[in-house]
Amino acid sequence: MDIVTVRNLYKKYGSKENQVIALNNITLSIQEGEFVAIIGFSGSGKTTLLNMIGGLDKPSDGEVIIAGKKINQFNEDERTLFRRRNIGFVFQSYNLISNLTAYENIILPLQADGENVNEKYLNDIVEILGIKNKLDSLPRNMSGGQQQRVAIARALITKPAIILADEPTGNLDSKASLEVINLLRGTCKKYNQTVIMITHNDNLAQLADRIVRIEDGIVRC
């Protein structure tokens, strides 16, 4: 079953002679549980596509359907709520809240929903990610790899259908990068989640189930 469907997606910035077409009529489907790597040069539209799928931005034209819902028709709050409950984001620069501990960062999406913390589930995640002993640490007291794992834990805590990872290994060394990708794969399999990952690294892209190449806003298969 297709969990993500993108149809005739356009995203334009600016107007007239200053107009930039970031996404140019993209049509794409991703299956549930699939691990997809999106690759392309800088400025090719990878992040823009991810932002559309994650509801961070609205397309200029076209449809984005996530789990049967046309999120391009949602207003901002609806997209935010949808994102909170169905999508987990992992960023290149980790984007942890600097004055919250690892634990507090992880449960932040639950806090937003007023949900109870499922301590058993959280324990499982942090065990898998190897950050159990870092739960009370502040981000500045963790290495880049540890911070990224915390970010992954945060993305997983709401049991989202989809994980969107924008260059999750961009700031990590090769060893840590491999670890993170393997973790993403592992959790993807364990919890049957769909992972869409942007990467510059062709070697890491090979670990995905499918590679989608984007050039100048167009998908090249």
Partner: protein
């Protein structure tokens, strides 16, 4: 080593940094303006008040001299002049004192006396206490100089130099009439309070010399000004060196009570400290936040080789520039405000509109220095921090990260509200600074409100006056030199009784009596009262009974008197069977003893009483407070005797009315006051009557209250404003600082509304903590200040400014509610994606 000469470079960087921080600059200048405005106002008001009060005191005394020696010999004058504890010795001579000098055109009972001042006395002692001197001190034998109030009494409202006035006086055995020429006149403090109805007419040295042989009753006094802070032992040594003759008196005036008591100094210092602290906190916060926001910039400067002292210099230069603008504008505003308010304030606080002093150089210097110090110390710490930061630290620095100190326990169901608490209390230093600034500002505000509302004018009047209007016979007042006179004649009393809206009139009468001295009755009293008077042997009075005289005071028995002194048999008192003794030591005079007395009159020339008429006896029935002695006109060896009006009327029909107390219908106070004042002015004894009106005192105090409220309120508002600006600045800046955090929150699923709620909760927590601090610590400060205040303003009745506090609380609440919304609104103006990119 490489030379590091780079003032120009630092100045250029400073200029660039200055231009790129417009918002910070505006807020900083505003803070400095407010601080210097308040300091300028406080210094101007305080300095002017002290100076004006001192000047008023001088004018009250009429001389700068603080010691006198009567009938000094030339040798004694020489000793004084050569003593290094003596600044000046002036001579004054009351050349015609005994017997009246009458002005031929005068139909009032004003007594004139001719007086001479030598050059030192006139120039050093008298002139500084006078205003508006026109003309010069008399030189020729027929020249005189007078005070403008004396001329006014003579009906001369527009005096001219060279005008002629004819006075008649006794010179030796001759009755003389002489035409004098006015050589000058001046304004002085109304002398009629001090000297009764005596008007001094100044004459020349030539007049004194030409009439020397005939001026047999001249009273010559050396007026002496001693150095400041002279010790008692030095005064004693000076007195000893003068070798005083029999009956010669050397007296030193007690030091005038300075307004600057320890309590007042503490209060003033406290106010200045408050202002400096509030200003400091605001400016410190502004610059601290600015440093935090630009930490990467300073780190980059370090990377490229700028030293820590250069970075400090960049900030301090900016501070100087801001301080110059802020101090100039703030001081100017403070000066304009003070120039307008200070005269109004002083006129309402001081008895007379005398000696109003405006701002001077020291006030300006004080303002500039204090504000400059405030700005400097506020900027110094942030500048040092900026200088110390290492490049690596700066690159990795995250705005909100460094300050988290609070460990938060894990919660099963964490809420936005709990997150808000953690955010506020997590950074203890910032929390403390914001709370301190807010608390100080609000506390200052409500403290001033409490002081002003506590000046209960009703309470003042109640504590000082038993009636609405009191008329006093000046000639019966203590210290009055001339004869006692019946200024409230029958015509006057009848006019008073016929006035509308007067509820009650009561009188106090006075009669000199000569009790028969009996050791058993008066022995202990006289021993105690005259202890220390070595010349007086109590049995002396047996031999000289007419020296043992007293005042009989006749009072009306009122309900309030009966209620206050329940142990007195008021019926017996009313019937004249008993009298009461004003004495605080009942053990000195026995209740139940009988006093036998005769009526008397006082002989000025001999200082003795002349006994007249029958003997009377009356039993001592109890005691009254010593304040009843104030109704008398002399300090006497025998105790005063208080009897009923009925009794005194029965034995002394000509007893002098010393006081008339009038109670008035409330709604007609103003009209009755006007009528009474008019009656007094038109009376032929108007100079002998003093009117004390509760209504006028209340009106005067109302003006004081309004002025105080205006001035104090303005200062309180400014202080509160500083606190509020600080608060707004902190909220706004913390939102800006956390813009990265907010966009992250939004990216992972927190809605704008939730983020708005988070920051609103945070500011409401600040509000709640501030109000808690105000109600605890703030009220403690308020009580301390009030206690000091009430020791000066003794009639103050504590009144907590609840409305003011509620108003401020409400205003703060609105700020806490709306400022985060506005700040977040500005923050969320672009899309999530744009903000994510900006904050990477």
């Amino acid at each position: 080593m490489y030379q590091n000469s780079n003032l120009k470079f630092v100045w250029q960087l400073s200029k660039r940094n200055y231009s790129s921080n417009k918002e910070r600059n505006i807020v900083s200048i505003l803070a400095i303006i407010l601080t210097s405005f308040m300091l300028m106002t406080i210094f101007t008001v305080g300095f002017s008040y002290i100076k004006s009060y001192d000047l008023q005191q001088l004018q009250l005394l009429g001389t700068t001299g603080n010691a006198t020696l009567d009938n000094p010999s030339d040798k004694q004058i020489a000793i004084l002049e050569n003593n290094n504890k003596v600044k000046n010795v002036g001579i004054r001579e009351d050349v015609i004192q005994a017997g009246k000098v009458e002005y031929s055109g005068d139909n009032t009972r004003l007594y004139y006396a001719l007086r001479y001042y030598d050059d030192i006395e006139w120039n050093k002692h008298r002139k500084p206490a006078l205003d508006n001197i026109v003309g010069k001190y008399p030189r020729d034998e027929n020249e005189i100089m007078m005070s403008s109030w004396v001329l006014k009494k003579m009906g001369v409202t527009n005096p001219q130099i060279g005008e002629k006035y004819e006075f008649s006086y006794n010179l030796g055995t001759e009755q003389k009439v002489k035409e004098f020429v006015l050589s000058g006149y001046f304004d002085e403090y109304d002398n009629s309070i001090k000297d009764g109805s005596v008007a001094y007419v100044l004459v020349s040295k030539k007049f004194v010399e030409d009439n020397k042989e005939l001026l047999t009753q001249t009273i010559r006094i050396a007026d002496i000004s001693l150095v400041e802070n002279i010790k008692n032992i030095e005064i004693e040594n000076l007195e000893d060196s003068l070798n005083l003759q029999e009956k010669q008196v050397f007296s030193v005036n007690p030091e005038l009570q300075s307004q600057m008591t320890v309590e007042v100094v503490i209060m003033v210092c406290f106010i200045i400290l408050c202002i400096v602290a509030c200003g400091y906190l605001l400016i410190y916060n502004i610059f601290n936040i600015s440093i935090t926001n630009n930490i990467h910039y300073y780190g980059q400067l370090k990377v490229i080789g700028i030293t820590k002292n250069q970075i400090k210099g960049i900030l301090l230069w900016q501070g100087i520039k801001l301080a110059i603008y802020g101090v100039l504008i703030g001081s100017l505003l403070g000066y304009l405000f003070s120039s307008f308010m200070v005269p109004i304030f002083l006129n309402s606080m001081l008895e007379k509109k005398t000696g109003i002093v405006a701002c001077n150089m020291w006030v300006v210097i004080g303002t500039v220095v204090f504000t400059g110090i405030t700005v400097f110390i506020a900027i110094l710490k942030p500048a040092v921090i900026a200088g110390k930061i290492s490049p690596i630290e700066a690159i990795r620095y995250e705005k909100n990260a460094a300050n988290r100190t609070r460990k938060v326990k894990r919660r099963k169901r964490p809420t936005i509200f709990q997150m808000a608490i953690d955010n506020v209390l997590g950074d203890k230093k910032r929390c403390f600074l914001v709370l301190l600034s807010m608390t100080l500002g609000i506390t200052a505000c409500i403290t001033i409100g409490a002081l002003v509302t506590s000046m209960n004018t009703d309470n003042y009047v109640k504590s000082n006056m038993d009636s609405d209007i009191e008329l006093k016979n000046k000639t019966t007042a203590l210290g009055y030199d001339n004869e006692v006179a019946q200024v409230f004649d029958v015509e006057f009393i009848n006019s008073l009784k016929n006035m509308e809206d007067i509820r009650e009139i009561s009188m106090i009468k006075q009669q000199l009596v000569v009790p028969m001295y009996e050791e058993e009755v008066f022995g202990r009293y006289v021993d105690t009262m005259l202890s220390g008077e070595e010349d007086i042997d109590p049995t002396y009075f047996k031999s000289y009974p007419n020296l043992f005289y007293s005042q009989m005071i006749g009072i009306e028995v009122t309900e309030s008197l009966k209620n206050e002194y329940k142990d007195v048999d008021w019926n017996a008192f009313e019937d004249g069977q008993i009298c009461l003794i004003p004495c605080s030591k009942p053990e000195l005079i026995n209740k139940g003893d009988t006093i036998t007395f005769q009526l008397g009159s006082y002989e000025n020339s001999t200082g003795k009483a002349i006994m007249t008429g029958n003997k009377y006896s009356i039993t001592i029935g109890g005691y009254l407070p010593e304040s009843y002695n104030n109704y008398g006109s002399a300090r006497t060896a025998a105790p005063y005797v208080v009897v009923s009006q009925k009794y005194i009327n029965s034995i002394a029909k000509d007893a002098i009315i010393s006081n008339i107390m009038i109670k008035v219908n409330k709604q007609a106070e103003k009209a009755v006051n006007e009528s009474v004042n008019k009656l007094v002015v038109n009376s032929r004894f108007s100079d002998g009557i003093v009117v004390v009106s509760a209504f006028e005192k209340i009106e005067g105090l109302k003006q004081t209250k309004i002025t105080l409220f205006g001035m104090g309120g303005s200062l309180a508002v400014v202080l509160a404003l500083i606190g509020i600006i600080n608060f707004i600045n902190v909220i706004n800046t913390s939102i800006i600082e956390r813009s990265r955090d907010f966009v992250i929150m939004e990216s992972i699923g927190l809605t704008k509304e939730q983020i708005m709620r988070l920051v609103t909760y945070e500011s409401l927590i600040y509000f709640a903590l501030t109000m808690l601090f105000v109600l605890t610590v703030g009220n403690g400060i308020l009580l301390f200040v009030y206690n000091t205040f009430s020791s000066i303003v003794t009639y103050a009745e504590f009144s907590y400014p609840i409305l003011l506090l509620l108003g401020i609380g409400f205003l703060l609440f609105l700020i806490c509610y709306f400022v985060p919304k506005i700040a977040i609104g500005k923050n969320f103006s672009s899309t999530i994606v744009e903000r994510l990119k900006t904050n990477e």
